[in-house]
Symmetry: C2
Subunit: 762 residues, 2 copies
């Protein structure tokens, strides 16, 4: 068995020794440098742009403005295309814009011989604006009379979806129900991947070539073509190793602009390298979503009716749009089924920077809200939060009517049991009762629900190609992408497992090149092992069958009598090694009778997806006078089905927990109410959670193999971040009795809430 | 019809504008620089190498000597591998050698931070030799007591083959036969491609990556693996655009050394860039071959018996070895069939630089000898050279017993007719009779015979992959390589033709990467259009069939009712366009019912090859006192079957004719008899033929479609060079009555021969 072993990452040695080549390493040092002129107003019409001074600066090759930009509108979201127009992403951007919609919007660009000239030219560009009123708050933006950000969206509502189940209005009439009515607020955060966004582009062979730090090369290619109005086949996108993405690079961020710029300078190589400040201010962010929950429960906690409203702050452009808000909304009636449910989700344009994909895709927000709310119900009713969740959560055998996903095993109880044991839940809960001092401890829990992959909302497909070498090793090509998460290693294990060859014999082609890489939609939705796994297994099984058919010529054994084990073709009936795979590959490639290069390529389409589950337990120590939270203990327990590589799975969970801790306690993007300008867009002022802020991060797993999955696996990339903030929030509630309904729970907020709670009265 | 049109080269614009990226352009500017310490003796044993001074030079990273080099012997020839040991190329080299076998052999190497440090270190290395006697002449090397160059080859004979047909000894007893007994000598020349040999290598992912200016990426990968003793799959070779090869880059020249060097400096990027002088002195050369012809003819010219001896000067290492000598030897009884034939070919090691592949692969030498000899027979017997050739040459319907090749059409007469007409042969031959002045004119002819591709001597195979984009365009991948000859354009035309799409819709992936490019053995033997054509057509036909099967789902038409024409899926019965290929590709890729990435990959094996034919007519003006030849007029007429792209075919012929003119009149590598050192290894002293030396080069074609060929085409890359020197030689003979049996016919030689002829007696 190769699946389930903690092989060292295929790229570990190269990354540790600095051999790994990222986009910047691959770009010719003589590339022209592109810089963007960002607006310094939040909402305006560009009246004119004066580039005369900029053009005079030595080293400037070209200055281009929104008045030069192609009129093609394009989308940026990393979603598969749909041939149905209603399912296509919203085309609402030009590569440069005449209508500034947020502070930092892209108005002009400079291409210069070097960075200094480019920066000087950017400063020398003079833009004259017709300034418009702007709106930053999501509910303000929905009001009549609010500034109109995109022409065709009334009240700035990009989309509004509703879920109706049962009869809410009738149900709440039942006597004796307790109404819990609360608002929960999440903040805007940024991904903070180590490698800023970077891409470079040039023309060759009548085509536009783009190398980019992207999660979605095949999708980006299409977005670039749309933006430039060229045939899709005229664009090629190459994705090298990337230093993290977390969803920010699941957008076509600046590839369309860079691709257009090269066409404006005679096809010369143009590099567009975001500074950290630009990554903060001009890339995507996690949506700030505001939730309103009204739950009607019996005194024993039985959930009779629930109404939820979600207000998602989209910012200036559609990007992933409503999908993020809708994913959270859709989760509520699944995680805690309720017979009478009414849900409304609004995704609303504002004059803020653009919300896009970020690890969790709406679920960190939704999980914070639902798990805070669930805790609030328990607190209100005096119920045990574990017992209440066990009773109320999605039951074994639950089938979602839309996705047909099923809960196959008693995973919630298993995860809760493991987490309780590790954190010593019962004893500590008891011990932390009735604390009165300045320093108090508490313990909290949060469940986690996540839907792997995107079927049936969108197409799910993964293609795979295998190329055999003369030594019996293979190259493995998939369209799904290594973005630091270890996908290449998992893919290699899968291929080795199914093909029957040693792990070391799989050479993964890490770099995707849309010219030659089988089509795959990229890294998102925690779909890598689930979706690519099906592509890999389908291809490997077909390849193995073909290899055994070919082996018949040399072994005289019927293919069904043979198998491939550990790189050898064996006879199943007595286990004899008939020849090595290397011998076969060599022989058939150079066979003068019947020669063949052994390769295989297959597309797998998926018509399933899978639930991932888990929980988080957090233990905190709250210093009330100092308004500080110290995280003492934290554990995530995950059921992601079979683990392909436990060590990598653990690393994924560690990363997600870290992100969740920052989300819960420190990270928040601050916008100036007067200008809309981002105030803390750098790693000094933005309080990114780091190892220094963490206790030991405990990751445990419950492995219920997913029956619909090629290797029993399901999503684990995003889920770990989701339950962390709510578990910490519930621990603080447990410690102090104060319920935080807003993130992050920074000292500022603690001071405010503790003051309201009367802690500082004397 | 797309075949047969002179489309502009797919890379024309990029090459003309400097966008095309060659190996040097792609190599990171911070690469370490490797330089080689070449021996300054022709034959010696290295006793010791003192690197102490070299290591002290600032910037030197590593100095390595023959005593550090791996003991693995490896071959360098660009031949397909054979699983039969007797058919494998000779392994006679190490990456650095302790046994110096020619002046310039590779004894040590330096890796340094920059070129200056590397060069200084090379000079600082002190090598102590045990000097041995050396031999430069091929027949001297065969003598008993000659210096032994490789241990196991007696009398330095690498190989000796014989052809026996009929009974020579009996046949020559026939009374009345005239014996023509002559020696012909060819010289050593170099390829002089514009781009010198260059490669770079690094380690990543536990594998060795090599980017190289090579004609044979898949073969080079194997040679590197052999040299380093690693699994073949652990080596990856990438081939960018290359600036010419002409066969020199059909050897693994220095990739094995460069690959080894990176492993000695921790996998850092190492560049090995040959200077022009090294390309001259340390790369491959065209074999100097000496021929001895004895022909026994009747007074009417009937060829009764013939004996040929060929002595091929191999130089120090085997490289392509005996194949080159044998190809020429094998041609003689085919071109001019003779019932009683005895042929001997010897390939012999000498202490000269290594003979390898060069455009024509032994046939420029053999054609010079046979066509000079044929002319000498005509002169001796007073026969018309055209009529004699028409009568004596391979007849229509001729089948070679070994290759099964057949002469399908009356091509020789057609080619001769075209050439005679263009050059006004009859009238000029008459006019040039009885000249007596100092300046005399003459006209000469030479036939041309060439065997396309290498079956049945070696494996012939070509794999192809096609990847469809959403706009109905495709990427085309083949293992055969663009080396400046225009193969990419021809391949694109073929794919477009068979698939039924516009030429512009084919995006050829020019760069071969052994990790992902379908296996092909590379560019040699004029096999590109013939061999790769079969790979392309096989793949395209399978792809088209698959596309039509898929189209059924959307058009409801059975696949046999449809065709693909000009990028549209049409109904054959009424010609209606049912959908565009782009619509189909888009629809099926994103089909939520049945999605698929449309691709196809196929291996074609060849069990045929094909004769290429033609002739050359040259007209010269000889200035006897000045010993100068002025080429007035020259025409090559070729039957290469169907022309894929007439303009590119013409360009091929022009290049070959230019090379042939240099071969005939000016080019020769001179070796110092006292040291074995190359004396004129630079473009100043080596008289490379250029446009300045040429009259208009007329290229004409006779198109008899080759029945065994996918597109009716056969070899045209090499043939044009072959008949040129002999046609010029025969023209000089016609002008002056002096037969030159040696190349090149430089003023030095003319003076010697004209003196012997008594021209300067008064």
């Amino acid at each position: 068995m190769i699946i389930g072993k903690s092989y060292t990452r295929v790229d570990a040695y190269d990354k540790a020794t600095g051999r790994t080549k990222y986009t910047e390493d691959l770009c010719d040092k003589h590339a022209l440098v592109a810089k963007i002129k960002h607006s310094n107003v939040a909402h305006a019409i560009v009246k004119s742009v004066d580039i005369s001074e900029a053009e005079k600066i030595p080293g400037v090759v070209k200055v281009l403005t929104c008045f030069d930009a192609p009129e093609y509108l394009f989308p940026t979201a990393g979603h598969p295309w749909s041939t149905e127009e209603s399912h296509q992403d919203i085309c609402d951007r030009n590569v440069l814009t005449k209508h500034v919609r947020y502070y930092g919007d892209d108005v002009a660009a400079v291409v210069a011989e070097d960075e200094v000239a480019a920066k000087r030219a950017i400063e020398a560009i003079k833009v004259e604006y017709e300034v418009l009123p702007f709106v930053l708050d999501v509910q303000e933006a929905m009001k009549d009379g609010a500034p109109q950000i995109h022409e065709k969206y009334k009240n700035n509502v990009l989309a509004h979806t509703q879920i109706h189940k049962g009869n809410y209005e009738e149900a709440i009439k039942e006597p004796g129900l307790i109404k819990i009515d609360k608002w929960y607020n999440t903040q805007t955060v940024q991904h903070c991947h180590i490698e800023n966004f970077i891409c470079y582009a040039w023309e060759e062979g009548g085509r536009i070539h783009v190398t980019s730090s992207t999660q979605i090369p095949h999708v980006t290619r299409r977005c670039v073509a749309q933006a430039l109005g060229v045939d899709w086949g005229r664009v090629r996108v190459v994705k090298p190793y990337i230093g993290g993405g977390f969803g920010n690079k699941q957008d076509a961020l600046y590839e369309p602009l860079c691709a257009w710029l090269t066409t404006q300078v005679g096809g010369r190589l143009v590099k567009l390298d975001c500074q950290r400040e630009e990554t903060f201010a001009n890339n995507r962010v996690r949506h700030a979503i505001r939730y309103h929950f009204i739950s009607w429960v019996k005194p024993d906690g039985t959930l009779v009716a629930r109404k939820v409203e979600c207000f998602s702050n989209q910012g200036a452009y559609a990007s992933h749009g409503h999908a993020i808000c809708a994913k959270g909304l859709g989760s509520f009636p699944q995680l805690y089924p309720c017979e009478n449910f009414e849900g409304d989700g609004w995704t609303v344009f504002t004059n803020r920077q653009v919300g896009g994909a970020m690890r969790g895709y709406g679920m960190p927000q939704a999980t914070f809200a639902i798990e805070a709310h669930t805790e609030d119900i328990c607190t209100e009713l005096g119920l045990d939060p574990i017992a209440y969740r066990r009773k109320t959560v999605m039951p074994v055998g639950y089938v979602d009517a839309f996705s047909k996903n099923e809960l196959y095993s008693d995973t919630f109880n298993q995860c809760l049991d493991a987490g309780m044991k590790y954190i010593d839940f019962e004893r500590k809960r008891e011990a932390y009762k009735n604390q009165t001092g300045d320093i108090r401890r508490g313990i909290g829990v949060s469940l986690l629900w996540y839907n792997t992959a995107v079927w049936p909302i969108a197409l799910e497909t993964s293609s795979c190609r295998m190329v055999m070498n003369q030594d019996g090793s293979i190259q493995l090509q998939v369209g799904e992408t290594e973005i630091g998460q270890g996908a290449d290693t998992a893919f290699s294990q899968m291929a080795a497992e199914t093909l029957g060859i040693p792990f070391e014999k799989v050479h993964i082609v890490s770099c995707q090149d849309t010219d030659v890489t089988p089509f795959g939609t990229g890294a998102y939705a925690s779909r890598q092992t689930y979706a690519a796994g099906m592509g890999i297994r389908g291809c490997a099984e077909a390849f193995k069958a073909h290899i055994l058919d070919v082996a018949y010529r040399y072994t005289r054994m019927q293919s069904y009598l043979m198998d491939i084990v550990d790189g050898n073709i064996i006879r199943k009936t007595d286990g004899r090694v008939l020849m090595t795979l290397g011998e076969l590959a060599l022989t058939v490639l150079y066979d003068r009778e019947h020669n063949e290069h052994l390769t295989m390529e297959k597309t797998a389409q998926l018509k399933t997806n899978a639930y991932s589950f888990g929980c988080c337990f957090a233990e905190v120590e709250v210093d009330i006078p100092m308004c500080q939270v110290k995280l003492l203990n934290i554990i995530n327990v995950h059921d992601a089905g079979t683990l392909i590589n436990p060590a990598l799975a653990e690393a994924q969970v560690h990363g997600g927990m870290s992100m969740g801790i920052g989300y819960g306690l420190s990270e928040k993007m601050l916008y100036d109410a007067k200008t809309g300008k981002l105030l803390n867009g750098n790693l000094l002022d933005y309080k990114l959670s780091t190892m220094m802020d963490h206790p030991h991060l405990e990751a445990q797993f419950v492995e219920n193999p997913e029956p619909t999955s090629a290797y029993g696996t399901k999503g684990l990339g995003e889920p770990p971040v989701n339950p962390v903030a709510s578990a910490i929030r519930n621990a603080i509630l447990n410690a102090t009795g104060v319920a935080f309904d807003e993130l992050p729970m920074r000292p500022h907020l603690l001071y405010e809430k503790f003051s309201q709670a009367g802690f500082f009265q004397d």
